[in-house]
């Protein structure tokens, strides 16, 4: 009886969505490792190779966001507003938001990395998270952005300082076709909560990002075998793994936007 009431009231109150109006869509990136919360420089985790490690840095670019609504129509967030650097050490970076037309969105798609066009932009257009100075996500000698950075320490590491460092990039080459480690991530939102975007309100999509997948995703990566991976070693296998880190956990719709 009560649930029927709620259902009734929901239906009654359901707004008419107007595609000419924009509402906020917020994506929360919640980092975990296996079943545990990520706490930088503190918590010890174990991978499937029985290697214990702690994480000191976890950073990655999320770009080119596309949303598809329940009618199958897609909305691509304007490219210039669609670059985010998610940095576990910077809580403000973990909840990027974009403006999208009102609608019920059932699919979220984004690129993990920085596409080739953006990698070849004139320097004058490389500002904010794309600035070649200050973000620590740019290779100066092999010009291109680092898409994904995971660093930490482990007694399994074979480096002198017992660290492991995975810096993964490579956008496909400027004039020679090379490896492209950009990965498209497509998440179905309909099961854990369609994102209903409405003007003056926020729909908050909560994603779980399991950094443990870097070691135990589609490909098994061991710290002992690969303590440092950058432009050589199994960078493509790690990229296949980071494409699998994301799962949609739940959505909070009709959230008030605080006037900060």
């Amino acid at each position: 009886m009560l649930s029927a009431c709620i259902l009734f009231s929901c239906t009654k109150d359901e707004p008419t969505l107007d595609v000419t109006k924009n509402g906020q869509l917020k994506i929360k990136f919640d980092q975990i490792v296996g079943g545990k919360k990520l706490i930088l420089n503190e918590t010890t985790y174990t991978n499937n190779s029985e290697e214990q490690f702690i994480v000191s840095t976890a950073k990655y670019y999320v770009s080119n966001i596309v949303l598809t609504n329940n009618n199958g129509q897609s909305y691509t967030v304007p490219k210039s507003e669609s670059f985010f650097l998610i940095n576990a050490a910077n809580s403000e970076s973990l909840t990027p938001s974009v403006l999208v037309p009102e609608g019920q969105y059932t699919t979220l798609q984004f690129n993990l990395g920085i596409d080739s066009i953006t990698n070849t932009l004139p320097v004058s257009e490389r500002t904010g998270v794309l600035d070649v100075a200050g973000n620590d996500m740019y290779w100066s000698w092999n010009s291109g952005y680092i898409f994904f950075k995971l660093e930490g320490s482990s007694t399994s590491s074979t480096t002198a300082d017992q660290k492991f460092r995975y810096h993964i990039g490579l956008f496909g080459g400027y004039d020679t076709k090379t490896v492209n480690n950009n990965k498209t991530v497509v998440l179905d939102l309909s099961k854990a909560g369609t994102a209903i975007v409405q003007e003056n309100l926020s729909s908050d999509i909560h994603l779980m990002v399991d950094l443990g997948k870097v070691f135990d995703g589609k490909n098994k990566i061991s710290i002992a075998t690969n303590s440092t991976v950058m432009t050589s070693g199994p960078h493509q296998l790690i990229a296949e793994n980071y494409a699998q880190m994301f799962t949609h956990d739940h959505t909070h719709n009709y959230q008030k936007i605080s006037n900060e």
Partner: protein
């Protein structure tokens, strides 16, 4: 003061003003990008970074300022010396910060507006992005680019100089890199004897002319006129060196790029010894002899070099005479390009 005296003084003032005007005009024209007639259109988009006197001078100051390195000891100019066509003459590989050694010979800086790729491996594809590589390289200047910007912001002179050059005292990665580019873009070498011959201002000697013909037959596929490079990456049969440098492969990861390096220009060879990516050749004669009889049959050896380059001793002498017409003394002596007192 009588009328005549007044007129005289006005005349003097007029002359002074006129002189100043002419001076200013002369002055600014030195800081313009003048397209050499026999060069192709530049690769660099000059409209994206209009060159001004103030921008050039700021770029030059940055180029010669060791503030760009971690411990303020090494500048760009430390390894790119203007009198040597901006190479580190006499050094096979350069010693950078704390006397650390790199694995490659510092390349000459000239005619960069036409360059499609930078460094021996082409790892950087735009001039504006090139300076970050030596700044951040741990054996060169070993500094974070972001820290360089911070040091510039906190300096006494730079905010004013940026204000003059860009209309804002804000210092960021964009205007810092653009200033460096403005300086480097004007490092144009187009006044060698070869250039004068092409412009019909002079003629080759008989030996130079014979050497030019030999060059056209045997060298010009890779070292194309008028810049004397085709900007491609090729394996010229040097083989692997002790530092195991695989060249272009380290950028592309492609087996077919192993041991490939950028074809360097043949301009200003008199000032840029030693030669090759690792500076292992001291003399031009040794370079020519490499192509005559020391080519290693490596996997990616350029097909054009499979049988070496056949040259008689007489031909070597003629070819050398021609190569010497590519030296541009005006370029290396241009005081506008050197460190200012």
């Amino acid at each position: 003061m009588n009328k005549r005296q007044i007129l005289f003084f006005i005349g003097i003032i007029g002359l002074v003003i006129a002189c100043q005007k002419t001076d200013d005009k002369l002055d600014t024209s030195l800081f313009e990008f003048v397209q050499p007639e026999h060069f192709p259109a530049p690769v660099y988009n000059l409209a994206s970074n209009p060159i001004s006197k103030e921008g050039f001078e700021l770029g030059r100051k940055l180029f010669y300022d060791p503030i760009l390195s971690r411990n303020n000891t090494i500048s760009c100019g430390s390894c790119h010396i203007s009198q040597h066509a901006f190479t580190h003459h006499g050094h096979d590989v350069s010693h950078g910060i704390d006397d650390r050694l790199g694995v490659r010979n510092s390349m000459p800086l000239m005619n960069l507006a036409w360059s499609k790729g930078f460094f021996w491996d082409g790892g950087v594809f735009h001039l504006d992005l090139a300076p970050i590589a030596p700044i951040e390289n741990e054996v060169e200047m070993d500094e974070q680019f972001v820290t360089v910007l911070e040091k510039l912001r906190n300096s006494k002179d730079y905010p004013t100089l940026f204000q003059k050059a860009f209309g804002s005292s804000e210092i960021n990665s964009v205007n810092t890199l653009q200033a460096l580019s403005q300086f480097m873009l004007l490092l144009i070498s187009d006044n060698s004897k070869y250039d004068k011959v092409i412009r019909k201002e002079t003629n080759f000697s008989a030996a130079e002319q014979r050497g030019y013909t030999l060059y056209q037959q045997k060298c010009s596929t890779c070292h194309q006129e008028p810049l004397f490079t085709d900007y491609s990456y090729r394996d010229n049969g040097l083989g692997i060196n002790p530092s195991q440098d695989q060249g272009r492969y380290e950028i592309t990861g492609l087996e077919s790029d192993k041991l490939k390096f950028k074809v360097p220009s043949l301009r200003n060879l008199a000032y840029t010894s030693p030669y090759m990516h690792d500076g292992s050749f001291i003399t031009l004669e040794a370079v020519i002899n490499h192509y005559r009889r020391e080519i290693k049959q490596t996997d990616n050896l350029d097909p054009l070099l499979r049988n070496g380059i056949a040259l008689s001793n007489m031909e070597v002498s003629d070819l050398t005479a021609f190569l010497n017409t590519l030296n541009d003394e005006k370029f290396i002596r241009n005081t506008l390009f050197s460190e200012q007192p």
